[in-house]
Symmetry: C2
Subunit: 434 residues, 2 copies
């Protein structure tokens, strides 16, 4: 394939001519009344089919006793059944005394963690966070919009910190956390980050674990959502932050979360939280008032179905076989349509659920808007930043897993077309003002 020209070096005439071509193509797509969705990190039906056997893995005659002898059908078991703790402790690299297994949503666990911290504080807090004049969180950005929504709900001030290729800008993080005791936490998706697909470097993990925090009850919210979710044969390795925190003398600093939402069934998965036993003791007392216990039958289903870490890896290989081609399709299309034109850059993640693309400054909102008008839904531009405000208006999150291959092909064609159109207009406007 011919190497394409840098659009920034084209003459105004050439750009105008290109714009007319793209406009015609765009109108043609618009007339097709498409309805395609690349907005959320949702598994596709074929991925869900991989867990079909889980529906009937517990038969009426089977023992539904947990390892501790409790009847999984009845009340009780506040923090999960022992065999689920055992399995998911392995997944997160912690001991089984350092996990609690919850309901179907790790987001729910994170929300409730912050809610409890606001109302009661965390282990070691001198007062509830909500009693402070201001509570602030660091938000490596671009990041996960639902994390930011939790901060907004609880009126927690968000401070954006740049995501670099090895994780958050640690110089900025260290400086802020050292100086301001109203900074109580930081949101991290440390492996195959949402949306960049970046895995934190060992040094980043060590610096987070060891840095000096002015707030003595500072917490790292470690959302390890994609810990076994590879989309390439190159598997990123993430350093164990809990071990690093212990080694650095900050054993209570990290709250880790994960779930099987993108391993088994998103609506009916199992969520897990890991942290120090002291933290867990505090939390257990609080959740004992909230609930009598999680759905233990569903936990047992998961243990019987997933069995052990080897089986989880095999299962995730099957997931990867379904979604790898989708990631490749998107990456190839981006390269063939946008490569060399100097109007967009994007990452090539080894795992996770997203491809993160940066347009020229000031183009993202318009691209998402144009795509929507042609029937292609993307995550709203800005959503990956606190308060929905991308200061350079350039980041767009592409979620390629849910559409079929053919839908995805059309959707990404439309998307590239919109990037072209908006970029050309942006360059033309710039030329006009020269």
């Amino acid at each position: 394939m011919e190497r394409q020209s840098d659009y920034n070096r084209l003459a105004v005439d050439e750009l105008n001519q290109l714009a007319r071509q793209w406009e015609d193509r765009y109108e043609a797509y618009k007339n097709r009344n498409l309805k395609l969705d690349m907005s959320r990190g949702k598994p596709c039906p074929e991925q869900l089919d991989l867990s079909a056997d889980m529906l009937t893995i517990l038969q009426p005659g089977d023992s539904i006793q947990a390892a501790d002898g409790s009847d999984c059908r009845n009340y009780g078991g506040l923090d999960g059944i022992p065999e689920a703790k055992e399995l998911f402790a392995q997944m997160l690299g912690v001991s089984r005394n350092e996990v609690i297994i919850g309901g179907n949503s790790s987001l729910n666990m994170m929300h409730d963690t912050i809610s409890r911290a606001m109302l009661h504080g965390v282990y070691g807090s001198q007062s509830p966070w909500g009693k402070k004049e201001a509570v602030k969180f660091l938000c490596p950005s671009p990041g996960y919009d639902r994390h930011f929504a939790i901060c907004e709900l609880f009126n927690i001030e968000m401070i954006a910190v740049d995501m670099l290729q090895d994780g958050p800008d640690m110089d900025a993080v260290e400086r802020l956390v050292r100086e301001d005791d109203s900074i109580k936490g930081i949101w991290c998706v440390p492996k195959y980050s949402n949306p960049d697909g970046i895995t934190y470097a060992d040094e980043t993990v060590d610096r987070l674990a060891g840095m000096t925090a002015k707030a003595r009850d500072f917490r790292i919210i470690w959302d390890d959502a994609y810990t076994v979710h590879h989309v390439s044969d190159n598997h990123d390795q993430l350093k164990n932050i809990f071990a690093a925190c212990k080694a650095a003398g900050n054993p209570h600093r990290v709250f880790m979360y994960s779930s099987t939402s993108k391993i088994t069934l998103p609506g009916s998965g199992v969520a897990v939280m890991a942290t120090s036993e002291e933290n867990l003791q505090t939390i257990r007392k609080q959740i004992a008032v909230q609930t009598i216990g999680p759905d233990k039958i569903n936990q047992l289903r998961h243990v019987r179905f997933l069995k052990n870490m080897d089986q989880i890896r095999l299962h995730m290989d099957k997931q990867a076989a379904i979604i790898n081609p989708k990631f490749e399709l998107v990456l190839n299309k981006l390269e063939s349509e946008l490569g060399g034109k100097n109007i967009a850059s994007w990452n090539k993640p080894n795992g996770g659920y997203f491809i993160s693309l940066n347009t020229l400054d000031g183009c993202a909102k318009e691209v998402v808007h144009l795509a929507a008008q042609a029937g292609v839904t993307l995550t709203p531009a800005g959503a990956t930043f606190p308060y929905g405000n991308d200061p350079r208006d350039r980041n767009i999150r592409i979620a390629p897993t849910f559409p079929s291959i053919s839908e995805l092909e059309t959707a990404i064609d439309v998307f590239c077309l919109c990037v072209e159109l908006v970029s050309i207009k942006k360059i033309l406007a710039r030329e006009l003002h020269k």
Copy 2:
């Protein structure tokens, strides 16, 4: 059977002789090293077996689409699938737009309701409850210990109100609510109440719905946990409070809750909340930050298994057939062992999960303690009152459903024995001080 003597009329010698007899019997029980539990309202395994088919009611080949076309396996469906709303709206006598279907625990829903009210307020609040100097709740007592625990967790001051035979003492409730704007709510288990088994009279419901509340964002927490849980052929009828609130011009006053915990499987049931659409709109915005959605597969399981209200009633008849004999056993034993002695009184509920017994004043703690020493666990004395403080130290909650018939027979024998012993000693002490 011979009518027994009023212990209060026996001579000291006779009482001393009885005490020696009972002490011998008590020691004999103690030597048997019993381990029997009548502490919590837990279904027995035979009750759980009634829902065995639910485990496999969704087969891998079946459609797992909800009525709105959504794939129950995937993310989404914040407030429940339409067919679950339809079914449980009928159970609570509301419209399907007035319910949300949650996870496995109505307690969790109630906890979260209060938590949200403290942090953000409810629909119509001028400020979050937690910003007020004091927040108070009325607690009809005896009542449900887990309701009171929620108040304690959130530092909500509890004001005990007497439970009468037709519900809470409404004269007291009306007066308190009219005068004090820091009273934000009242806990109610309106049908087959925990622990008394009382169903609120129509007039009580109307007075709750219509009373003047100084706090404009006053809420009734209506925990209709036992709405289809009869243990007698006489079914109590509860007036629809939501309709009464609408009729009285207070449509947003009540939050109703129920669950299938004691219909299907306690750990793996489905919880429901019903209230005005305005209330629900406020709540939906908040839970949209907490979760992407509940376990829709489990909701679908419930709809496929329970089908409709007629099926629910048939299913509950089967439950009643298992637990009726246990209630009858306890009531017969109480009558034969304690009847006519003027040392205890108890209710005869038509439904619910408990028998509530009052001893002579100042005896409940000692009875529960003695029973525990003989291996029979009861709900801690005082638990049915705010702060665990039963001012007359007389109320004991008996939960007869979980033990087998033969276990229950032994347990209630031990219990009656303990009531006899403690009562005689109490009467003797009184005689001594005459």
